[in-house]
Amino acid sequence: MTAMPKWADAVLVPLISLLIAFVISGLVILAIGENPMEAMRIMVSGALGSTYGWGYTLYYATNFIFTGLAVSVAFHAGLFNIGGEGQAGVGGLGVALACLYIPWPHWSLALAAALVASAVFGAAWAAIPAWLQAKRGSHIVITTIMFNFIASALLVYVLVNILRPTGSMDASSARFAEHLRLPRLNEILALVGIPFNNRNPANISFLLGLVACVAVWVLMWRTRLGYELRAFGKSEKAAVYAGISPVKITMAAMLISGALAGMMAVNTVMGEAQRLILNSVEGAGFIGIAVALMGRSHPFGVLLAALLFGFLYQGGAELALWTKIPRELIVVIQALVILFTGALDNMVRRPVETLFLMARKGR
């Protein structure tokens, strides 16, 4: 018998951990001489107080949904993919190539092509570390870190020497054709009569992110591949006994993971910037780790965690805008959230467990 009901483990413990992280963040704000309550107010109103704020929150959340799902899928297979950053970067290259070199008549076709291209590029970037892990036992944590560095070298080279329009100062590709602009969230919501601010980058990719959540859920819990992936992640020995090939699963998990990370680029490259810029991923690959951890690697949890981090990002931006608090405060809050919900969760779980045990005995 487990000591604690499932809901307590899935909801109560993360919530308490989150609370602790926020309280400590508050202390940090206090320590640098600012007012935590005021800071919180600015963050909440800036990120959630208007459809404009929501737009940005959802835009960032979209990135984190994809990278969070990417990390989750690999996690389920027992693999720690730290390479989301590089995979998303290379995925962006895929988007740019798909949008720049083929004269699509309509954005929907371009979107389909960009999705495929970003997924393929992202997966390809994950493929080598995956293969090395599967075949040569090279530690995937290290190889994916290395591939992040290699990806950024590749991107600088490609952007500066190949994609950059001649005469342009900016190390970025040309702008995509105007008719390839993805529909913004406000345009979509207008179809169903919901007014939404039109000056934010939230776009159709957010809906794709939701679709990706459902797709990953189906994959993990309704398909054979997902079943094998989870079994492999829980016990490699048992998986082999059951006829599940470690090489196949490692490759499949990492390719899916890389593809998901790559697809993040559709949001940033096609949805927002409409061109490929240097460093378009901006750490979202790493945030994906935190998102996956907080979301307990479940797509629904990932969605919630991505929204939380989207809120942190947008709220933090507003904070930097209206106060003297540097933007790095957000990094600190992220760190604390990861620490308390991910690494120190037993610190909360144990007392909660004891409480439940006592309650049960008391009955």
Partner: protein, 321 residues
């Protein structure tokens, strides 16, 4: 490549390898005791910041160094708490520490100095000065040996010599002392140590603390030896390279020296030859800059033999479920 160039590249190698070596040995202690640590980067960064800050304020590099070690120890304590006491996921804890250091250093730095996270530039007393070994001047004209002694061996700052000394010291501690025996045992089979009447927790904390001290030295050397002050994100991924070196070194001290020197050497060569003209094609600078990472992958691909991590590594020691 002429001899003088070689000496200069090697000289640069030694400097670039030093922070890696500290961090790599730090990781060695921690991981040999069964606590994986991808937070080397964060600990170094925290140490670099506080050592830079304290050295700037006091003008005393030693105070700076100790402050740096203190900062790194604090991060190590968090890692220990998470991965030893609360049996959390060691990788996650490491990730958190990296973020925490990246954020806190700038936040506090901006709060204290208002220079956007940078600490004020250090003046002479706040920095480690080169140490000229005896007879370095006199030896210089001697062919071959002269430059090797006077340029390559002499003229580094204190932490460099300390780092080199740490290698035999680590090997000695690990293989010749009671503590080392217990530490290695704890990373292989903590239950064996426990049933032998030795506290697994104490040994692991000790290892994590040593890791903290060494990362502290790595960071302090960056900010007060190689550079003259702390700059935002100045570790620039060196903690991860040290981790790769550790795996490459198969968790052994002398190999660690070799691995760190190799990485230092690759970087030094990349600095010296920003792009290499192969006649037909010119390898672009970006390729040369990515070369250390590419080589790491190649090395990890197992062309130098498979690295077997300490058997109990990454797993919290759980007696009672």
């Amino acid at each position: 490549m002429d001899f003088a160039t070689l000496i200069q590249i090697l000289d640069s190698t030694v400097r670039l390898a030093t922070p890696l070596l500290f961090a790599c040995l730090a990781g060695l202690f921690s991981e040999r005791a069964g606590v994986f640590d991808i937070g080397l980067e964060g600990k170094m960064l925290a140490a670099a910041f506080l050592s830079g800050a304290v050295a700037a304020v006091t003008g005393n590099v030693w105070l700076g160094m100790f402050a740096g070690i203190g900062a790194s120890l604090l991060m190590a304590a968090i890692h220990g708490l998470a991965s030893i006491t609360f049996r959390g996921n060691q990788l996650i804890s490491g990730v958190a520490i990296n973020f925490l250091a990246a954020g806190l250093t700038v936040l506090l730095g901006q709060n204290w100095f208002g220079l956007g996270g940078r600490t004020p530039a250090l003046t002479s007393g706040g920095r480690f000065e080169p140490i000229i070994l005896p007879f370095a001047e006199a030896m210089a004209p001697v062919p071959v040996l002269g430059p090797i002694y006077s340029e390559l061996i002499s003229g580094h700052s204190f932490p460099v010599y300390l780092a080199w000394a740490m290698v035999p010291a680590t090997a000695w501690l690990l293989y010749r002392t009671r503590f080392g025996l217990r530490l290695r045992a704890v990373g292989e089979n903590p239950a064996a140590v426990d049933t032998a009447g030795v506290s697994v927790t104490a040994i692991r904390y000790a290892a994590v603390a040593i890791c903290g001290v060494l990362c502290g030295l790595a960071g302090a050397y960056l900010a007060t030896g190689l550079a003259a002050g702390f700059g935002k994100d100045m570790t620039a991924g060196r903690g991860f390279i040290a981790l790769a070196a550790l795996i490459f070194a198969k968790w052994r001290p002398w190999y660690a020296l070799g691995a760190c020197l190799l990485f230092g050497f690759l970087e030094a060569v990349g600095n010296r030859f920003p792009n290499i003209d192969l006649g037909l094609i010119v390898l672009p600078a970006q390729f040369m800059q990515a070369l250390p990472y590419i080589l790491t992958v190649v090395i990890l691909a197992g062309f130098v033999g498979k690295a077997i991590p300490p058997r109990a590594g990454g797993e919290p020691y759980v007696k009672e479920r």
